[in-house]
Amino acid sequence: MKRLKEITPTFLFAAHILLVFLLIFQGKVHLPAWMQPLGRMHPMLLHLPIGLLLIAGLLWWVKKEFDPMAVQKILDGVLSLTAITAVTTALLGFFLSREGGYPNGLLQWHLWSGAGLSFLTYGLAIYSDRLYAQPRFMGYAVLLSVAVLVMTGHFGASLTHGEDYLFPQVDKEEQVVITKASPIFVGAVAPILRAKCYSCHNDQKLKGGLNMTSIENLQRGGKHGALWMSGAAAKSHLIERIHLGMEEKKHMPPQGEPQLNPEEARLIFAWIQAGADYGKSLAGLSPTDSLRKLAEPFFNRSTKVAISPPRVYDLPFAAEKTIQKLSTPFRSVTSLATGSPALQVDFLVRQAYDPKQLSELEAISAQLVSLDLSNMPIKDEAIKTLGQFKVLEKLLLNNTDLTGATLGDLKSCKQLRVLGLSGTQVDKRIFDVLRQMPSLQKVLVWNTKITPQEVVAFQKKNRKPVFYIGFIENDSLLLQLNAPTLVNEDFVLTDKIPVVFKHSLKGTVIRYTIDGVDPDTTSSTLYTKPLFINGYTEIKTRATKDKWIASNVVGYSFFKSGIRADSAILTTTPEPEYPGTGAKTLINQKKGIIENFKDTAWLGFRHRPFSSMFFFKPNMTVKTITLSLGINIGSYIFPPQEVEIWGGHGAGKLKLIKTLKPVQPTGYAPNRTLGIQVALPPGKSYTTFKIIARPVPKLPAWHSGKGDVGWVMIDEVFFN
């Protein structure tokens, strides 16, 4: 006995630490099999602490009848035993709970109250002598323990006997699963009533003598009579109440209560109008029925995440090793989803195909549900192999070399639903063969010898399988051609680099002009070979073809790179936003992109004219000067008002050679590159040039910035 007394505190301490530990890590505990019988002892053992605690309580209650010392001794022992059995029971209970199969919420209540009880009894046991000195505390502590005991016991009993055991609930609300086949009343109307009406019109609370919680009660109506007249919503009492003004006393739901929103009111109206039928289901109505349209959103709301369960395949699993062996870069073998035995196989890269790759798939013929052989050089013989894939559901053979002669071999694929034959040589003979495959739903026959008329004729007699003909070329459909493509994307050309155009569509003719006029579709020059340019040239092109609308006109400006200036200086500063890279921007043979004036290839001038000097080595004869400018009318970038060319030898001795006023635009036009070419008088040679280009001082009246100063954007000056 003495020994037991010594061990008790240590045992209780260790056992409770263990209990706390287990409770903290309860999600991770794995119970070895041998411990399971221990858990099963919980229902037996649990009666000990119950009895012992009740005895302790009883003893405490009647303690005055006995010798106090004896009572204390006995109580000490009883409480120790209670604590020991309580913690043991709790631990065993925990083990039992790991077996699973208990409703989690209730289980947690039982678990924690049980643990709490164990701790209470532990406290009682080790502090019993101290508590004994303060009888009031002891009384409370015992009482509390008994209360927790009752709770724990109740939760435990509910676990084993079911929640309804003690207080069976008679009219518990059923959890209704809403599907399209559910009545509209259940899926849409009742939820509205429940949310907006039940609170005042229920079994307990019958405002206006009305109870709305069941169909019978709804039919009974309230003290003002029937709620509605089936088929005559406008005359119905309920509708009237709903649509009364908010300020009206009779408006329902009353002011201050959650109101029906317009969709809900409309739905109830439509439902009554349609006969207030409690049984009519959503699926029973035609898709265009207005009641159905109104009710559908409510159904969607009620069905929550109505995600259809994934298809489960009842197939034997293939060996992982087999799958790995079959999976190559040119033949992908994958499982349909994690944990699914069904396999899909795609063949990739035509030039890597080998017939052996197909026959090897026989190893997984029991799992192969989807096979894509499109674009592979599959011959008619291969169908025989395919016929062995008995669970195949989808088979794509588009753009293969099939003629359809052997398709009958697919009859053994009893599950086949989709068959792709687009782009093959099959013809109408396959109708007869495929008609005999009962599971076949869809056959793809785009771009084959089968004509739309043949499909229509077949479909008239046979509903399944559906032959899908896809896109039908329409000869009467006139499409506009795309413009010719410029092959070289460089706009600065030398003597050796020509301008090359092409058109991607066979049989297209390209016409062009170099005089700035839009080419027409019949008489403008035909483009036959690459063009070499002599100087600045604007080429406009357009493509034409029979039965096509001629393309839009596209124009390109080409500059000829000729004599390179030795050096250049700017004599006015560009605007700070467009500094380019200084004067060398002008002679670096690099053109800017018209879409991006921020590019350093551009120099921008506005408040000061553009002015720059160019220096050449002696004995160079410059015949023409071409300014390359950007035009973006919407952004105020115009051709210059005036261009002056000065020439001479040395910076100080220049003479004005030429002045010209470029043509100004008369309206908005697309952004473009503009070349201004100036021919110099023959027979003279200069080593220094100065070029001045003055921005338009006042933009014309038609422009949104009329009266403002225009911009001049320049990226290069060419000398030839």
Partner: protein, 482 residues
């Protein structure tokens, strides 16, 4: 008596140690029952197998036709006749409810409503209203689901684009395509799982940046591969003249060996990524020529996609290439078509943008359908936000512009498990959502769901926490799915 208690409370060292031993014993006993205690991977966040869908997917691949710059929903898929009736009148102040404005219209004193210059027509069984600018998309109305209630948080292009592509506005997260590549892997080991194609329209454009197809914190093998818009979509793919395939193979093998040594020494995962990228490039040398070869395509495709499909770098050509890539098992093909930013000149630019995209977008759907691929490919068409129902600046000569509007805009999706029809409703002013909103996070969650991924379970641990494409938000929208 109290001395007794005090004495008992005087814990001496031996007593303390003895008690502690008992306590530790209790823990030790308990730890026997918790084998995974110190392993550090909590059950609920257990890593999922990558490279395969978590559940049966509706779609295996995605083609995202991104209309960069924000096409106006009011001139395309959200018909608001009231705006025509009330044109010129001030927008009711009750609509705005604290919506912030961009710097471009915040100084504007008036917000006059503007109706669409373009007429609308009803198409298909759903009777969807679609603008006259998109007759071809109208003709496939029964194959597509128009979502009129997309909404976002960002109000400027870059954050909005980044948000839509990566689930965050700041631009340090992986793009959608990178997540797909990470979560589902590549179907075709000879091509990148995530390809990006760029084209430029004729309207006012906004830039696209490589951060939109970044792998973020994921391994760089998941980065989007941008195809060139020239004749050769992938540059430098051919071996230099005179190089034999065998020699190339030997070179790569030896290089991989050297890289392997470096990896062993430094352990940098990027070295490993590099080896894989070289291998991918080698395999691409055989796979790509088949992709770019149009000679196997029937002449009809010109009639379908329009003649521009033969001109590399155009939207039509990119649609055709996207179909070929997708057909070859590329998980995520992302197109960007620029030029949809109509702050002004809506009347001039919108038809040009529509002309560039209408025929080819519709052709892509038809083409996938006739190859039996539409039911396993998800096609998405749309921009980063919508445009305001009021004009930016004044209506002049019947022409107008619209500013950015994040509260509602329209996109459409087709194929892989998408329920055709019209989803959601905006108010009659086209300013606020009335019913069934689809936030960007919800959109991401739904797209991932269609691909067979639970958006809450596709995670990557970075900087001490787990990230998702939807981060901490997003709900799957069942109404969008079959």
């Amino acid at each position: 008596m109290s001395e007794f208690y005090n004495h008992r409370l005087n814990v001496n060292r031996r007593h303390f140690m003895g008690k502690m031993a008992a306590g530790i014993g209790g823990i030790a006993l308990g730890s026997l029952l918790v084998p995974d205690l110190f392993k550090g991977t909590p059950d609920d966040l257990e890593a999922l197998p990558l490279g395969v869908a978590q559940f049966a997917p509706k779609a295996k691949r995605i083609i995202y036709l991104f209309q960069n710059g924000a096409p106006s929903q009011l001139e395309s898929f959200d018909y608001k006749p009231l705006l025509n009736k009330m044109a010129g009148q001030e927008m009711p102040a009750s609509l705005r409810l604290g919506q912030r404005l961009t710097g471009m219209t915040s100084g504007q004193k008036k917000f006059p409503l503007v109706g669409s210059h373009f007429k609308f027509k009803q198409y298909g069984e759903s009777g969807a209203w679609i603008s006259e600018l998109f007759p071809n998309i109208g003709s496939i109305a029964d194959d597509i689901c128009i979502i009129r209630t997309m909404n976002t948080e960002a109000i400027n292009h870059d954050p909005a684009l980044t948000f839509l592509q990566s689930g965050a506005q700041q631009g340090n997260r992986p793009s959608m395509g990178a997540w797909m590549s990470y979560g589902l892997g590549s179907e075709n080991k000879n091509l990148p799982a995530f390809c990006v194609l760029l084209s430029r329209g004729r309207g006012n454009g906004q830039g696209v940046y490589s951060k939109l197809w970044t792998n973020g914190f994921l391994d760089s093998t998941h980065q989007g591969v941008v195809f060139s818009s020239g004749e050769e979509p992938i540059l430098y793919l051919n071996d230099p003249a005179g190089t034999e395939r065998v020699a190339r193979r030997r070179m790569l093998d030896n290089l991989a060996e050297l890289n392997g040594m470096a990896y062993k020494e430094f352990g940098d995962p990027e070295i490993h990524a590099k080896i894989q990228q070289y291998e991918l490039a080698y395999r691409m040398q055989t796979a790509v020529p088949e992709l770019t070869d149009l000679s196997k395509e029937p002449d009809q495709i010109v009639n379908m996609y329009g003649p521009e499909c033969l001109v590399p770098g155009t939207y039509a050509a990119n649609c055709l290439l996207a179909r070929k890539l997708s057909e070859s098992g590329v998980r995520f093909v992302q197109l960007y078509h620029q030029g949809w930013d109509q702050h002004g000149n809506m009347v001039g630019e919108m038809p040009l943008q529509a002309e560039d995209t209408d025929r080819a977008s519709a052709a892509l759907i038809t083409d996938l359908k006739q190859r039996g691929l539409l039911d396993e490919t998800l096609v998405i068409w749309g921009g980063e936000f919508g445009r305001t129902n009021y004009g930016q600046g004044e209506v002049k000569d019947g022409n107008y512009g619209r500013d950015h509007h994040p509260r509602c805009y329209s996109i459409w999706m087709a194929g892989g498990g998408v329920k055709p029809g019209v989803y959601g409703e905006t108010d009659e002013f086209g300013y606020n959502i009335v019913r069934d909103p689809v936030h960007i996070h919800d959109f991401h969650a739904t797209v991932l769901h269609l691909m067979g991924i639970n958006h809450e379970r596709l995670t990557y641990k970075h900087l001490g926490r787990r990230y998702r494409l939807t981060d901490i938000a997003g709900n799957v929208v069942p109404g969008l799915m079959v």
